[in-house]
């Protein structure tokens, strides 16, 4: 069930889903900003609204009275970003924010002002096949989805790693939920796309002058400098992504400003996440031991087609895929946690909570016969595994 918003386009009412309304408003706002100062602004906007209305009418019928979000997005993509080269008014330069939105699916908006908003890596629902990972990557690098899918398929078939990588990315990359996030996913071509574009444009022309050694040296220096800058940009963008993503663990909606949070869950959640990741680590080591010694994970045999070394790699990847979100959750629950901002009070609390958990665990084991037996059995099992591992090692 979705909320519906009624809008008036040139005198006729249309019912739009809420997200679709937001998307349309963003498009029309950006159009208005771009036409700022144009003497025919009002008329052009009216033309555009009329055209949108025509397109809406074509998707509606007797049994369909609401324009859904996807249809609104399709219409916006069909309209394309409003580009006005005829008039260079005072608002022309300032009109760019939000304009990148319109470029989401249309041809690249060449007029978009640089550095308006950095690109973010999101998973995109629009046109997603499984988890939207390929879709998001394609938007991030400004390439075709099919190409990324084929790459994943090749890696997936020949190594099996593609599937694991996909799952890992699915866990790591957040969905783009709001229209603004979808816009960010396509974003401003300031990072990855820019590198590809520059590589295409600039370097070829530089290569033509290679027969002149002085030119060649200069070209080399320039390329090196630029790549250093690109690497820095990309790293910064990635850091921002990670930071935002950490935030999203306790701010379910991205659009809230990542200011100082008033979240009191961290004192509970942090040691809890810590315990989970500790358990995960123990589980991982046990699984690895069992895989090495018995060629099966806790008695579960993997398909013979997968070579042994790959089983180990896969196990490590699965472990990391689970561990990383936990880490991020721990760091995400408080701004003072994490390698970058070490805070003695939080570290102290973390330690105290840990000792508390340990004491509780020891107490539980002493007073609960089932747990006691389980631990005894587990000890024997581990002993057994280690023994088998030794045998296996001797045989090598």
């Amino acid at each position: 069930m979705n909320k519906v918003i009624i809008i008036n386009l040139n005198g006729i009412a249309y019912q739009l889903e809420e997200d679709g309304y937001e998307a349309l408003r963003a498009y029309l706002d950006s159009a208005a900003r771009r036409l700022e100062g144009n003497p025919d602004k009002g008329e052009i906007i009216a033309d555009i609204e009329q055209s949108i209305a025509d397109k809406f009418r074509s998707v509606l019928g007797a049994n369909k009275t609401v324009v859904v979000t996807r249809e609104v997005q399709d219409v916006i993509a069909e309209m394309g970003p409003v580009q006005d080269d005829s008039f260079r008014g005072p608002g022309a330069a300032a009109g760019a924010p939000g304009a990148s939105f319109a470029g989401a699916a249309g041809p690249a908006p060449a007029a978009a002002a640089p550095g308006v908003k950095a690109k973010r890596l999101y998973r995109l629902r629009e046109g997603a096949k499984i988890g939207g990972v390929c879709n998001g990557l394609a938007a991030y690098f400004g390439t075709d989805v099919t190409l990324i899918r084929i790459l994943f398929a090749i890696v997936g078939i020949s190594f099996g790693a593609g599937i694991l990588l996909y799952i890992a990315l699915m866990v790591i990359i957040p969905w783009a939920n709001t229209p603004a996030e979808v816009a960010d996913a396509h974003g401003d071509p300031s990072t990855a796309e820019d590198i590809i574009r520059r590589a295409k444009e600039g370097y070829y022309s530089g290569m033509k002058t290679f027969n002149d050694p002085a030119n060649y040296r200069q070209w080399k220096r320039k390329v090196r400098q630029e790549w250093r800058q690109h690497r820095r940009d990309l790293r910064d963008a990635w850091r921002r992504n990670k930071h935002d993503w950490n935030w999203s663990w306790h701010w379910p909606h991205h659009d809230q400003p990542p200011g100082q949070p008033h979240v009191y869950g961290w004192w509970f959640a942090m040691p809890f996440a810590g315990l989970l990741s500790a358990l995960l680590t123990v589980l991982f080591i046990l699984a690895l031991l069992s895989l090495v010694t018995t060629h099966a994970i806790f008695g579960f045999y993997l398909p013979y087609a997968i070579p042994f070394w790959l089983q180990i790699v896969g196990l490590i990847m699965i472990f990391n895929a689970f561990k990383w979100p936990l880490r991020a959750m721990r760091y995400g629950f408080h701004p003072g946690v994490g390698p970058a901002h070490w805070n003695p009070f939080i570290a102290l609390w973390h330690t105290i909570a840990w000792i508390g958990f340990l004491i509780f665990a020891v107490w539980l084991l002493h007073h609960n016969s089932h747990a006691h037996q389980a631990l005894d059995a587990a000890g024997d099992q581990v002993h057994d595994w280690i023994h088998q591992f030794k045998n296996w090692w001797d045989r090598q």
């Binding site: 052009i44 033309d47 394309g80 580009q83 295409k200």
Partner: protein, 114 residues
């Protein structure tokens, strides 16, 4: 891809010329112009075309009249003005010259290097 990027400025500059040509042939509305351009190298979208048409109307190259349509509200039908016709002829001549130059320059260069 590289060709696409390098020539986007040329395509942009030529769009007005092509719109003049399309409007000169017949009275059209925006959807006609879009459909005639789609499938060519000059495929464009309403977001680009409406501002361009309004600029051309400001410069008195085209004019429009409202016409009732069978389905939906009245539409703007665009037609060429006298000034627009003049501009089209000039641009057409200029274009002929440019394409001649492009053709000849390549051949001349290859001959001189031989």
């Amino acid at each position: 891809m590289i060709i696409n990027d390098n020539f986007s400025a040329i395509r942009k500059g030529l769009l007005e010329f092509l719109v003049l040509k399309i409007v000169a042939a017949d009275k059209v509305y925006v959807a006609d112009i879009l459909s005639q351009l789609s499938g060519t190298e000059f495929a464009t979208q309403e977001g680009t075309l409406y501002p361009l048409l309004s600029k051309m109307r400001r410069e008195e190259l085209v004019d429009y009249e409202w016409k009732e349509s069978e389905a939906g509200p009245p539409r703007k039908y665009y037609k060429l003005t006298a000034k627009g016709r003049e501009q089209l002829r000039e641009t057409d001549d200029y274009w002929q010259k440019i394409s001649e130059t492009v053709k000849q320059l390549g051949q001349g260069a290859s001959k001189s290097t031989n």
